[in-house]
């Protein structure tokens, strides 16, 4: 009787349960950060790692695609971390932005966006070539997947790629997003990612909204809005270039 009632409350008030679970995760992460790393590894970085780990365990347990959110008791996490509240909170971070800094970084952001799409695309295409893909459609789709996990399937659908190649392109994009989340706080000191200008460039080069949002949060929350602002344009630019310019380039090169 007690379990039944508890389950009813927890699932019925899913979003509230999400707040409680994520709050506990945050507390544990900040405690671990202070206790084991003396604050050197940021609490939010540990929390994001824990989130990914829990998502892995949840995925193994349920066989679903939404990690922890597929467990009915924890479905509220799906609302809390879903697109609506995520976008709302990211936009709210812009409130602390200095318009002067933004104007100064504006041009670099646009340049970074253009470079970012091409660099990731070329990386994806090279790996696909090494693994034996030679047709322009598959190469473009996998390259587009390395741009983001949305650009990949959008491009693949427009070009008529096989579902196997589409799945690979989505996976490449997911790996990219997660790698950015995990690696950014460690790499940040090496690449000078410590000011609004480099954050704008970083957002334009990486482009994966979720990766940039989490990577910068774990590095320095003050940089979040600058990176997310440019990253917001990246997927659209990729969707624009993928089935057009990038595909024509590939067709010209590989027939």
């Amino acid at each position: 009787m007690i379990t039944e009632t508890l389950t009813k409350v927890l699932t019925g008030y899913g979003l509230i349960s999400g707040f409680a679970v994520i709050g506990a995760t945050m507390w544990l992460s900040y405690w671990m950060s202070a206790k084991f790393t003396r604050g050197r590894l940021h609490g939010s970085a540990i929390a994001i790692l824990l989130g990914l780990l829990l998502s892995y365990l949840g995925g193994l347990h349920t066989g679903g695609q939404k990690g922890l959110a597929d467990i009915p008791l924890l479905s509220g996490i799906g609302i809390l971390g879903g697109a609506m509240l995520r976008d709302f909170a990211i936009i709210a971070t812009a409130f602390g932005v200095n318009p002067k800094e933004l104007k100064r970084a504006g041009v670099s952001g646009v340049i970074a966006l253009a470079f970012g799409v091409f660099v990731s695309f070329i990386a994806g295409v090279s790996v696909a070539l090494v693994f034996g893909y030679t047709d322009a459609v598959s190469l473009t789709t996998i390259g587009a997947g390395a741009v983001t996990y949305i650009v990949g399937p959008v491009t693949g659908a427009a070009l008529g790629a096989s579902s196997e190649v589409m799945a690979l392109s989505i996976a490449a994009g997911l790996i990219k997003a997660m790698a950015v989340m995990v690696v950014t706080p460690f790499v940040a000191p090496l690449i000078g990612l410590n000011n609004p200008r480099s954050a704008v460039i970083f957002g334009g080069l990486m482009g994966t909204s979720s990766g940039v949002a989490a990577g910068l949060a774990a590095t320095d929350p003050k940089l979040v809005p600058y990176g997310c602002l440019t990253a917001a344009f990246y997927t659209a630019l990729g969707c624009l270039l993928g089935p057009s310019l990038l595909y024509f380039m590939m067709r010209g090169l590989f027939g």
């Binding site: 999400g18 707040f19 994520i22 709050g23 995760t25 929390a47 994001i48 824990l50 995925g59 695609q65 990690g67 922890l68 996490i77 509240l85 976008d87 909170a89 990211i90 936009i91 709210a92 971070t93 812009a94 409130f95 200095n98 318009p99 002067k100 970084a105 041009v107 670099s108 970074a112 990731s120 070329i122 790996v127 996998i142 997947g145 390395a146 741009v147 949305i150 690979l168 996976a171 490449a172 997911l174 990219k176 790698a179 000078g192 200008r197 460039i201 970083f202 990486m206 949002a213 989490a214 949060a217 929350p221 997310c228 602002l229 440019t230 990253a231 917001a232 997927t235 969707c239 624009l240």
Partner: protein, 141 residues
């Protein structure tokens, strides 16, 4: 009132996403074109405009600051629902493609950072009066 801030944030969000979707339709792209970015720009300049006219009370700001502060937990919740199993079980090609894209992009950050800084040094002089006026505006804020 706190709700004024939350409402301002909501209006900026909805307007930005609406413009982004419209741009997507106009460009023939099946995705939102920079909606979140447009919303952020609306909030930055809209908020600045209101603040300069003294229309942004501390309570109003709190309505925005709460959401800005809850951002990291939301990102953790987002991480907790990524398809980690799907991505890792798709084989070495997808993993390598993703990692190489990230590695190259990281390497490009300092390159572009340096490139832009040289431009900025050259261009700085003619813009001097404009940036002075902007710093006055931001001091007032």
């Amino acid at each position: 009132m706190i709700i004024y801030g939350v409402a301002l944030l909501s209006i900026c969000t909805l307007a930005g996403l609406f413009i982004g979707d419209l741009l997507g339709v106009l460009l023939g792209v099946p995705s939102n074109v920079g909606g979140v970015g447009i919303a952020m720009i609306l909030l930055i300049f809209g908020g600045n405009w209101l603040a300069r006219r003294g229309l942004l009370a501390a309570k109003t700001e709190q309505g925005i600051e709460f959401w800005s502060a809850i951002y990291i937990p939301i990102v953790v919740a987002m991480a907790a629902q990524q398809n980690v199993v799907g991505a890792l079980s798709s084989g070495p090609m997808a993993i390598l493609a993703g990692l190489l894209a990230v590695g190259l992009s990281f390497a490009m950050v300092p390159v572009l950072d340096r490139l832009g800084r040289q431009d900025a040094a050259v261009e700085k002089k003619p813009h001097e009066p404009g940036s002075a006026a902007q710093s006055v505006a931001s001091v007032q804020r």
